[in-house]
Subunit: 109 residues, 2 copies
Amino acid sequence: MTASNTQIQMRKGLLEFCILHIIARGEVYASDMIDELTEAKMIVVEGTLYPLLNRLKTASLVSYKWVESDSGPPRKYYSITEDGTEFLQILDKTWDSLVQSTQLITSKR
Amino acid sequence: MTASNTQIQMRKGLLEFCILHIIARGEVYASDMIDELTEAKMIVVEGTLYPLLNRLKTASLVSYKWVESDSGPPRKYYSITEDGTEFLQILDKTWDSLVQSTQLITSKR
DNA sequence: CCAAGAAACTGGTATAGCAAGGTAGCTTCT
DNA sequence: AGAAGCTACCTTGCTATACCAGTTTCTTGG
């Protein structure tokens, strides 16, 4: 049981939430997401992101379209669906509640 | 991929953090923890808690002592160790950073 | 003694992140 | 044209953890 392991566990599940938010703001492809997450100090690697995106797609929470690139191979640009928007609203509430619960427990003494 | 499943995933990893905090405040046994977590709407069941406590014990982050009960079988009263206190400080920082990162991502538009 | 309850524990299942490797298309340089 | 390198997407094997549904152990009360 190491700190880094626990940190990973704490991040778990938040990724899906964050990525849905990023996609909800407009069309993006994988590298865009990684850049933004990294900037916010929420580290992600490709091997984590791609399966996650596929899960979101399978669940019809996001959709994508292929777009040719000026430099390099084509990209999958993701956008959020109606179902995804609804789902995201639930997650927003869950997150708020979770922060509140944690705050309640960790700030007591 | 259901909302409830995602909610579970978001809660994952926070449990360890919350439980360490509860133990850090003073000696408690399993039912105390469950009561407090339930009160804070952080639902946990016994089958989750006991393995977690054993992990913390194995990692020397907490220790326990048996205490006779007036009514019923003896209880394991847990308290935090020095290592556990250090660990908890790291987790506090991790949590703050995580909240901040998530806030950054989810509040943008 | 036996039933009931409390406390601690266990095995099986599912999910998710990570590390590492693989495939294919495009660009650049010789 | 050919080779090298980059970019983007995808897959596999591993590990860790929570949940569910029991099981065991101990104590008390009828």
